[in-house]
């Protein structure tokens, strides 16, 4: 049992930062929202209907980035992204190269990912956010292993996504420097269990 | 009654050892299946009783 009596409503254009100490259930909450886990009690609704009623519809609108982003070390950055996009909607090669350039991986398109550093691998995963993507983003610790400049850039990109009517739910330990209008914070550590 | 005497009943023709071994083993297993949950229940209640005492003395 991680949390009880949690009532939350999010709308387009908002950003929810879930914070709290280790073990307070940040990742679990995100996995529940994405539909990877089923809640013991209670329910999660997307546009008025529960997740299990409309699995495919939710999936079409959801971009999930977990601790591990689904990057294969043996495949190149481009191959990885092409597949991850194909799971939702196939992306053009030019678009993938642009996205890789946007995350500062220009020139690394054809390199197998296992030769990249941890931060670079993280960026390959984040490059999905720069490709045509679904509106709801659920990101688990997107800022880990990134340098200062990259963090600032990602914050700006997330804020921009919210401004365009997207919805972002993320966990992170640092406090965001750039908060969009619809910013909310949920501190799981403050809640009495 | 298909046996004339108790001794005959025990002997089961020449098959006494087999018949009684089967029944013995089976009844032991059945007994085990009844005893284990009962014991587990008792142990659980004892654990709970201990926990309650601890909490009351606090």
């Amino acid at each position: 049992m991680l949390f009880e009596r949690l009532d939350l409503r999010l709308e387009a254009g908002q950003m929810l930062q879930v914070s709290g100490p280790n073990g307070s259930g940040k990742t679990s909450l995100l996995r529940l929202l994405a539909g990877l886990m089923q809640p013991t009690a209670g329910e999660i609704r997307w546009q008025g209907r529960t997740l299990s009623e409309q699995r495919a519809e939710v999936s079409r609108n959801l971009l999930w980035l977990g601790h591990a982003a689904g990057i294969k070390g043996l495949l190149t950055a481009e191959e990885n992204l092409a597949w991850l996009c194909a799971l939702h909607q196939p992306a053009e090669r030019a678009a993938i190269w642009q996205a890789l350039e946007a995350v500062g991986l220009r020139g690394f398109e054809d390199v197998p990912c296992h030769t990249l550093s941890a931060g670079q691998q993280r960026r390959v995963g984040l490059a999905r956010l720069y490709l045509p993507a679904p509106p709801l983003w659920i990101l688990d610790e997107p800022f880990t292993a990134l340098d200062k400049a990259a963090v600032a850039q990602l914050e700006a990109h997330l804020a921009e996504h919210c401004r365009q009517g997207g919805l972002v739910v993320l966990t992170t330990h640092h406090s965001l420097a750039l908060k969009p209008d619809g910013y909310r914070e949920l501190d799981l550590g403050q809640r009495s269990l | 009654m298909s046996f004339a005497s108790f001794a005959e009943f025990i002997a089961m023709g020449t098959h006494g050892p087999y018949v009684w071994a089967s029944y013995g083993v089976s009844l032991a297993i059945i007994g085990l299946n009844v005893a284990l949950p009962l014991l587990a229940r008792r142990r659980y209640l004892q654990d709970e009783a201990r926990r309650m005492r601890r909490e009351e003395s606090k």
């Binding site: 996995r31 994405a34 539909g35 990877l36 886990m37 089923q38 495919a56 999936s59 079409r60 959801l62 999930w64 977990g66 601790h67 591990a68 982003a69 689904g70 990057i71 294969k72 070390g73 043996l74 495949l75 191959e79 597949w83 991850l84 194909a86 799971l87 939702h88 196939p90 197998p112 | -």
Partner: protein, 223 residues
């Protein structure tokens, strides 16, 4: 939808060929197990020949099982499975592509290696077509059933032995039919019946197991 199927097939193929050693491992295992039997029971041709249908099938079955242990493990660890589960495409379709890719390059290779090893056990050449067909029809079932176990145990630290425990009993019909076909052919009896039964098992496995595999993966990912 079929586009994702072929894309996944291409991706899995690419992954397998970038680690060729892992493709060879089940084959080497298969050959070693076969080589153990003459050493254990003695080199008499007559004895080995009469045992060969069973030996080839048991060794093939174990080789397939071992190769399946890691089927979903790396996808589980690097988060790929989460992406699959959350994609709008039906998960049974995706896992079918994954298992098909795995079978194409490990199961099929096993089928092609088997005649060579069977000849070493003294199986006469006239039995080889039946050997090939029975393995061709039987190994997909082994792969698919094994994938169910692999999906259920993917989140466990030491899943390998457990996988064998779960899946080997389910392999028994394939083993009986496959080695039965070979035995019949060795004795000069008709084998079509066995092969048809194997074919229906394959059809059954292809239609039903993807759903069980998908359910198993969802459970493992949702833990």
């Amino acid at each position: 939808m079929s586009n994702v199927f072929s894309l996944l097939l291409a991706r899995e193929t690419r992954l397998l060929f970038r680690r060729p050693a892992e493709l060879a491992n089940p084959l080497v295992f298969f050959a070693i197990v076969i080589a153990l039997f003459p050493l254990a029971v003695g080199p008499q041709t007559q004895l080995l020949q009469s045992l060969s249908p069973g030996l080839v099938w048991v060794a093939a079955l174990l080789a397939v099982l071992l190769s399946l242990d890691g089927l979903f493990r790396s996808d589980f660890e690097d988060g790929s499975l989460e992406q699959w589960v959350l994609s709008p495409h039906p998960l049974p379709l995706l896992v079918l592509a994954k298992v098909l890719a795995h079978w194409l390059f490990s199961g099929l290779a096993l089928v092609l290696l088997a005649p060579l090893l069977a000849l070493m056990l003294g199986l006469p050449g006239r039995c080889l077509p039946v050997l090939l067909f029975s393995l061709l029809l039987g190994t997909p079932v082994l792969s698919l059933l094994g994938a169910v176990g692999a999906a259920l145990t993917v989140g466990l630290k030491r899943g390998g032995l457990l996988l064998a425990l779960l899946i080997l009993p389910l392999y028994i019909p394939v083993l009986i039919l496959g080695s039965g076909a070979l035995q019949a052919s060795l004795q000069g009896l008709p084998t079509l019946g066995h092969l048809l039964w194997l074919a229906s098992l394959t059809a059954l496995a292809v239609t039903l197991t993807p759903f069980a595999i998908a359910a198993g993966l969802k459970i493992s990912v949702g833990e």
